[in-house]
């Protein structure tokens, strides 16, 4: 609850290891709030969240990666400097690993431009690199494909599929079902704070569009 507004209502769901879940829904359906509740950025007014076997979310945050609408990056630092800084929040930093992470998302680790001068698409990709710095077991991605050109979106989709195949549990909030069509194991449709449909693949989105 936010004041008198219920962003999520009676949401009960479980997510299995090593699967990719796509979350669709109207604007204001509670999709982003669901991700924020799962990673502990928002506390539920009632009910509980168990993540990686623990209801003490702070104790398992080392195994969680979160990518929000906003890039969660410092405009005043370069891409590598940003990743170096955030990697240090988790463990001692290996610069080679950071450079690899930047290359994996299709960016140049040698780029000396500050992130404030990046395009939205570049920020989005660097934000994904930031979210995966700590080798998370659970990845929560809010609109990862927004602002990406088709080629970059395809590359990101392929990358997410590889991460899922490597055993990560991935929750992706997106309006663009085409980018998760080949990789989503299950999809949800949310409306007015509730999960109203849950189906294999992206059928939840297809059903919602048809109805």
């Amino acid at each position: 609850m936010f004041g008198r507004f219920a962003a999520l209502r009676e949401v009960t769901a479980s997510f299995d290891d090593g699967r990719l879940y796509a979350i669709f829904g109207d604007n204001g359906a509670g999709k982003s709030t669901l991700l924020r509740v799962i990673c502990g950025l928002a506390r539920p007014s009632s009910g509980k969240v168990t993540l990686l076997g623990s209801s003490d979310l702070r104790s398992v945050l080392g195994g969680v990666g979160y990518m929000a609408h906003a890039p969660l990056l410092y405009d005043e630092m370069t891409g590598l400097e940003n990743l170096h800084y955030f990697a240090g929040l988790y463990r001692p930093v290996d610069d080679d690993k950071l450079r690899d992470a930047i290359r994996t998302v299709g960016l140049d680790p040698g780029l000396t431009r500050y992130v404030g001068q990046y395009s939205q698409g570049m920020k989005q990709r660097l934000s994904l690199a930031r979210a995966t710095l700590n080798d998370p077991k659970v990845l929560l991605l809010d609109e990862p494909f927004s602002n990406l050109d088709p080629q970059s979106a395809k590359a990101m989709s392929r990358l997410l599929g590889e991460m899922r195949d490597a055993g990560r549990t991935i929750l992706v909030v997106t309006h663009q079902s085409v980018h998760v069509a080949g990789i989503a194991d299950e999809s949800f449709w949310m409306s007015a704070g509730k999960i109203v449909d849950r189906q294999p693949g992206i059928r939840a989105a297809e059903s919602a569009v048809r109805s």
Partner: protein, 197 residues
């Protein structure tokens, strides 16, 4: 901030012309007024970079303890404000023809302890104010009342050293205890502030 301090010094020096003895007596208070307002201007910007792009969410979902972020910000603010004070202090010396009767080391100690008192609470309250709309007004509203005991001690210690009328020791001891207590309290409570919705 430096310009603001210059303004304070110049306006005060033109608005009344104290005798040498009066200058020694009042300049401690004037200096800390200038330092306080300059510090508030600096402290209001403490979390500006984190507000852009919601960077604090990245901290909140990391296992890094909140107190480490707070300590880093506080030390950064402390160094910045100390540099400002080092630049501003000579202006007071020139405009008020100040000569310290007591040892300069006591003045330096007053500056260090007093600045830490302002900065540790200022950094904490700046974080508390993040979620309010009028955050630039909230910080001074929260900071000034809680800083009054420390401000009185700072001014007392500085004036005592400049005039040599009394010993600054008691005021400095008070400041040291104030700094210790509020540093511990802020470190313990910062996690709650960081993770508050």
């Amino acid at each position: 901030m430096l310009f603001f301090a210059l303004l304070v010094v110049v306006i005060f020096s033109f608005s009344f012309e104290p005798t040498s003895e009066e200058a020694q007596r009042i300049s401690g208070g004037l200096m800390w007024v200038a330092f306080l307002f300059a510090a508030v201007v600096a402290l209001n910007q403490t979390w500006a970079r984190e507000l852009r792009n919601q960077v604090l969410d990245a901290y909140r979902v990391s296992p890094a303890p909140g107190w480490s972020l707070f300590l880093a910000k506080t030390i950064g603010n402390f160094l910045f404000v100390m540099v400002l004070e080092c630049l501003m202090a000579p202006l007071f010396v020139v405009f008020y023809n100040l000569r310290s009767v007591g040892p300069e080391s006591m003045l330096a100690l007053s500056a260090v302890l007093g600045t830490w008192a302002l900065v540790v609470n200022g950094t904490f309250f700046a974080a508390m104010s993040l979620r309010t709309r009028a955050r630039e007004i909230m910080l001074p509203l929260l900071l000034f009342p809680i800083s009054i005991p420390a401000l009185l001690a700072m001014v007392s210690a500085t004036t005592a050293t400049l005039t040599g009328d009394s010993s600054p020791t008691l005021a400095l001891e008070f400041l040291a205890v104030y700094d210790l207590v509020f540093t511990i309290v802020c470190l313990l409570l910062f996690d709650t502030v960081l993770h508050a919705e």
